[in-house]
Amino acid sequence: MSAREWDPIEANALVNSCVMRGNPLVALQSLQSQYGFVHPEAFEHVAQAFNISRAEVFGIVTYYSDLRTELVNGTEVRVCMGEACQAVGARTLLRELEHFESNHAEMHMFVSEVFCMGNCALGPTAVVGATLVGLANIDAVVTLFHEVQS
């Protein structure tokens, strides 16, 4: 997760650098990983750079769940909801984390669901920031969350 602030000129340059060796999706992914989101003001430039319509750019951004148009305010905690993790209590873990999230709004935990991290033999699985947690439980996830926060 990058904390870089959105910079329209730099963003346009990044898009341009993807034109020769990439495609619109690669350009949008680059913006996402650089800034943590894709500012809608970049759509026009991506459209021009790849000679597609702005509607198509909008279509790509809204299709892929990795691409976001707003920065997540806080630390993301993703809980795997694949069947393999469900079989070992992922639904309970998600419920507990959502409970924690709403009771501690000041901590800016952002809980979301993800479908399969490929950690299916060691579930339940959570991802705190960028760290994968196997055999996860609420205590381990919250402890790591505090570490990532500080």
Partner: protein, 510 residues
């Protein structure tokens, strides 16, 4: 002293990085290799040490155990978590590892280690053969697509080889989105050169000059290992303008997914590789004739292409001698979910599900009785405890309305509610549908609603009829496997576990 601490992402999820740090500091004279995983995940982090008897294992070594292990290794090596010589552990010894031969053993990014363990032998064989004789070898092996469809790889390759085009592509589907499957990830993290070698062989056979590996974004470690491996392979001319000094040119690039499950469907993957929304394309035209950017394209799963180097090195016949008559070779089964001993089991096709779950898996992790097993990912059937004797090959599973898929096996104990699992299957389809065809886009939403009515107890028998009818429409009317196979988990749950839907007796599927 040489010690091995896996850098596999699943091993890292239970602390192998901390273990490596602690051991590295305490045993500064030791040579540490960050290997892939042996696939025994209940023992991860699995630390190995090279000794006179061979590599011996300790596990699971959580960060809290690392100090005491370091002390033991500085002394006589005795530790309560000592397991013995790794290669003689029954779980490893009883497997037939061909594709996974080097995974967990070698340093994933050491080209010398790769070659010392038989790497590159297949590619060298391919370079002295003609295109046709490579394809004949793959044909003789009987190799079928490991992504789920089971289509013979050689026929696909031949179609591309015979197509007339200046540019041809090889696209490797590493968008391993099925829950309960992780073999592609473990191979890419543990032995990435095997995938590159297989792709290079396929390129020589088909005349392709450009390859893409489409890896899902949920696998950041696999992406970085694969990219590093490609740089090394380029330096050693295993790929590039002249493969090992020959006249074959082949370049490979990694492309990263963006969180869409349906991009694991081959035509949606092509759209995504072209930078568009991952919308499924109608077939025909088949991708082998008109695939990426409209050019002839080989699309193979990671497991399919990773089996190729062995076939070239040892001959198609020796591969075909393993497995069953129609499902030849080995399959990489993945034991997951509520299982005591989860991990990677590579064996010839035809082993029984019971042997995998009870012998290798040692039953449920919770210790409670097993109730259901989902085979083949989120679109695969739920099998009941009474069906465990099925043989794990393409034909036997199809015969009981199930499928092998990518070889994922997810175990559930008695606490599972199968109506909820059926509902989840429909909900997942609604969430991940690309939206191109109506049965999938709308049908899945109606499916969730009908199952909700049944769960609430409204007109259960009528709604069952409705659900069965809806499933028939989705199966027959959907453009791809997403909508077409979602009914499989739903109907199998409904037919085998009707009591969870509040239905009294089992009724046979029309």
């Amino acid at each position: 002293m040489k010690i091995f601490v896996p850098a596999d992402s699943s091993a890292k999820s239970v602390g192998s990085d901390s273990v490596a740090r602690i051991l590295g500091a305490a045993l500064s004279q030791a040579d540490m290799v960050r290997n892939g995983s042996r696939g025994m995940y209940w023992l991860e982090p699995l630390v190995e040490v090279e000794t006179d008897q061979g590599r011996v294992a300790y596990g699971p070594i959580y960060p809290a155990d690392a100090e005491s292990l370091a002390e033991a290794l500085n002394g006589n090596g005795e530790h309560p978590k000592f397991l013995g010589v790794t290669s003689e552990l029954p779980w490893i010894r009883e497997q037939n590892r061909l594709t996974f031969k080097r995974v967990g053993i070698i340093d994933p990014l050491d080209p010398a280690d790769f070659q010392a363990h038989g790497g590159l032998a297949g590619l060298q064989q391919a370079l002295v053969k003609t295109s046709e004789s490579i394809i004949d070898e793959v044909m003789a092996s009987g190799l079928r697509g490991r992504g789920g469809a089971g289509f013979p790889a050689a026929i696909k390759w031949r179609t591309v080889a015979q197509a007339q085009s200046e540019i041809k592509y090889i696209c490797i589907n590493a968008d391993e989105g099925d829950s309960g499957t992780f073999a592609d990830r473990v191979l890419m993290e543990g032995d990435p050169f095997t995938l590159i070698e297989g792709m290079a062989i396929s390129a020589i056979a088909t005349g392709a000059t450009h390859g893409y590996i489409y890896i899902r974004s949920e696998y950041p470690d696999a992406i970085s290992v694969m990219n590093a491996a490609l740089d090394i392979a380029r330096e050693h001319t295993w790929i590039g303008p002249a493969i090992l000094g020959s006249h074959h040119a082949f370049e490979i690039a990694v492309r990263v997914g963006a969180g869409s499950y349906v991009c694991g469907e081959e035509t949606a993957m092509l759209e995504s590789l072209e930078g568009k929304r991952g919308m499924v394309r109608p077939k025909p035209p088949i991708p082998a004739l008109s695939g990426l950017f409209g050019k002839p394209t080989v699309i193979n799963n990671v497991m399919t292409i990773a089996a190729v180097p062995y076939i070239l090195a040892h001959g198609g016949d020796s591969y075909a001698a393993i497995g069953t008559e129609k499902s030849t070779g080995t399959s990489v089964y993945q034991l997951a979910g509520n299982i005591a001993q989860g991990g990677i089991v590579e064996l010839g096709f035809g082993v029984s599900l019971r042997h995998l779950v009870e012998h290798f898996g040692a039953g449920t992790r919770s210790g409670a009785p097993l109730r259901a097993v989902q085979v083949g990912g989120p679109l695969g059937a739920y099998l009941s405890a009474g069906q465990l004797d099925v043989a794990m090959d393409y034909e036997s599973l199809t015969a009981i309305d199930a499928m092998l898929g990518h070889g994922g096996i997810v175990v559930f104990d008695e606490t599972v509610n199968m109506a909820q699992q059926a509902r989840f299957a429909m909900e997942f389809c609604a969430e991940e549908s690309c939206g191109k065809c109506t049965p999938c886009r709308i049908g899945s939403i109606r499916g969730v609603e009908v199952i909700d009515l049944m769960i609430r107890g409204e007109n259960r028998d009528d709604n069952r009829e409705l659900l069965v009818d809806l499933c028939e429409v989705m199966t027959d009317g959907s453009l791809c496997a997403m909508g077409g196979l979602t009914p499989m988990p739903v109907l199998s749950a409904l037919n085998k576990f009707p009591e969870d839907f509040g239905l009294s007796q089992e009724r046979t599927q029309p």
